[in-house]
């Protein structure tokens, strides 16, 4: 018997352990991420039927090869045709994209000055400021969205303050409108915008700005010519981090939006839980993912580029 750590079978033992190490997380994700997605794709190509489960066809393995052939033969793109024929769906997609894009822009406009001020703050303040920006992120998302319901309601605090100060005579209808959805998205995703921009601005070499000023650049033009271009990567990362989840958002339109707020996450939820139309819900999911693939791939590429630039 060889000594510990110098066993003769070390080489094959290491290879075996490496294989197990790879296999466990691999199989887990394969079974609980990839296969479920394949099922969504399959059901999106099936037909709705009144049965349990409410879609057809099912694979009939007992019928052997013929069963599998019948199964594939019965799949079709009918649900996708249905999505294009009912304008609810494409309006919901367009409206989600518009709401996500506009609120990303608003988050940028709100978040940039905050990130900028954090980066200019005295060194000893920065950890505290960082913690203050991160703290809401650890607090329940649902509760943070909910907190706006009491503020924006017709008899809510905002309307009370505005009426009391005499700015308005009758309460503004904000809750259950798209405005409330914009406010909700900007509010909940603000830390995702601030942190990458702050990270980029913090690395910015202050002597560049001093050089620009020495060379007669005004503060404003130094900002446009130096600070903004050098924070570009942070801005891009922040925008993706807000835009991508905002497109498929469910909680915010459901709690703050009205019946006329069309967002695709909400449509999918209702299609599944209220209408119990699984094939259409699956088709909605597949199209949503196809729409998001472009920004996701662009984002990954941007991150890759940045990693290489830093590495």
């Amino acid at each position: 018997m060889a000594r510990r750590g110098q066993r003769p079978q070390t080489v094959s033992g290491v290879a075996m352990r490496r294989l197990i190490l790879i296999a466990i997380p691999y199989l887990w994700l394969f079974a609980l991420f990839l296969i479920p997605f394949a099922i969504v794709l399959k059901i999106s190509l099936s037909d709705t039927v009144l049965a349990i489960p409410p879609y057809a066809p099912q694979i009939d393995l007992a019928a052997g090869w013929q069963g599998i052939k019948d199964f594939f033969g019965a799949l079709d793109g009918e649900n996708f045709v249905f999505l294009t024929s009912d304008d609810l769906y494409w309006k919901a997609y367009l409206s989600s994209l518009r709401i996500a894009a506009l609120s990303t822009l608003m988050t940028l406009l709100v978040g940039f000055p905050i990130a900028y001020a954090m980066a200019r703050a005295p060194d000893e303040w920065r950890p505290t400021l960082m913690m203050l920006v991160i703290l809401p992120f650890w607090t329940s998302f649902l509760i943070r969205v909910y907190s706006w319901m009491g503020i924006l309601a017709n008899e809510g605090i905002l309307n009370q303050v505005l009426t009391w100060t005499g700015i308005i005579d009758s309460p503004l209808q904000i809750l259950n409108t798209n405005t409330a959805v914009y406010i909700g998205i900007v509010y909940t995703y603000l830390p995702f915008m601030i942190l990458p921009i702050y990270a980029a601005l913090e690395r910015l070499d202050g002597s560049l700005l001093e050089a620009a000023e020495d060379l007669g650049c005004s503060r404003t033009s130094a900002f446009w010519l130096i600070t903004l271009p050098l924070s570009k990567n942070g801005v891009i990362a922040g925008c993706f981090l807000v835009f991508i989840p905002a497109v498929g958002e469910f909680v915010i339109p459901s709690l703050l939006g009205g019946s006329r707020t069309l967002m695709i996450g909400k449509v999918l939820w209702e299609e599944f839980f209220s209408n119990r139309d699984w094939p259409v819900a699956s088709a909605v999911a597949v199209v949503l993912l196809l729409i998001l693939v472009i920004p996701i791939v662009l984002f990954q590429r941007q991150e890759q580029k940045q990693r290489e630039a830093e590495g």
């Binding site: 352990r17 190490l21 994700l29 609980l32 913690m131 649902l142 009491g150 008899e155 599944f272 999911a285």
Partner: protein, 271 residues
């Protein structure tokens, strides 16, 4: 010391006010005596009392806590393995697919993740309940854990591991004695992240939960869908307080560790 211009002071003040005012309002109104959440009728802790006697909320909180502890622990083990595979295992068949499966759930809309898992559970005939919520939460939070842990693994000196192996450590012992202590802060951060993600999740849990299990977010959502409720304000205040205490404690501990490390390095320099 640099001084902040009035513009920067204003944007910081307004920004932080925007981030915190809604939560402050929630906390203040949780102590409101009136059932009408918009009318102030004096200080009262009545809603906290009612919350403590609300069996449904207590049950849901207990379920949520169980799910969060189990799923974040499983996610930490699986996520750390996945990070190790991504950073250390080199090339293997299907590596691109593997890293794709790690990163995709991070950007996948929750409604899609939830829907696909539900269809899987139904497809294989698994009864939905606590177990399926744990499976679902483990799956998406292990990806977050592996991102956090792999960023730490990338930045550490591999020679330390190799030295341990050369000195006769088994790979597992090298991992336990050398790698794990070094990546421990990232593993803990990953666990905390997975834990909060699980506590917080409404969408995926709604899909994965059957009628037999209800988590706190599902309960809160169905209570607030129709409007503001003082009991939920009280519950929110408790949750905000726990998170605040947790984050402040964690940051104080890291600060103290940093100070101690600094002092040790100074001592080593002098020696």
């Amino acid at each position: 010391m640099r001084r902040l211009s009035w513009f920067n002071v204003t944007s910081l003040t307004l920004g932080l006010a925007f981030l915190y005012l809604p939560m402050v309002v929630l906390v203040i109104y949780s102590f409101n005596a009136s059932k009408l959440v918009t009318v102030w009728a004096g200080f009262s802790t009545r809603w906290y009392g009612e919350l403590l006697h609300n069996e449904a909320f207590l049950d849901a909180a207990w379920v949520t806590l169980k799910v969060a502890v189990v799923s974040s622990t499983m996610a930490t083990v699986l996520g750390t393995m996945a990070a190790y595979v991504l950073v250390r295992a080199g090339r293997f068949y299907g590596r691109t697919l593997f890293s794709g499966m790690i990163y995709a759930p991070l950007v996948m809309p929750e409604v899609i993740t939830g829907l696909s898992l539900l269809l899987l559970f139904i497809g294989i005939g698994l009864d939905r309940g606590i177990f399926t919520i744990i499976l679902a939460h483990t799956t998406f939070s292990m990806c977050y854990v592996s991102v956090v842990v792999s960023s730490r693994l990338v930045s550490f000196d591999r020679a330390l591991e190799e030295a341990a192996l050369d000195l006769g450590c088994t790979p597992f012992a090298a991992f336990r004695l050398v790698t794990l202590p070094i990546i421990a802060p990232a593993v803990i951060a990953g666990w905390l992240l997975a834990f909060t993600l699980s506590l917080d999740d409404l969408v995926i849990a709604s899909f994965a939960a059957g009628p037999s299990a209800t988590t706190l977010p599902i309960k809160i959502y169905s209570a607030v869908r129709l409007g503001v409720s003082p009991e939920i304000n009280a519950l929110s205040t408790i949750m905000i307080a726990i998170v605040t205490i947790g984050v402040i404690t964690a940051s104080l501990l890291t600060k103290r560790a940093a100070v101690r490390r600094n002092a040790e390095e100074h001592a080593a320099d002098r020696a």
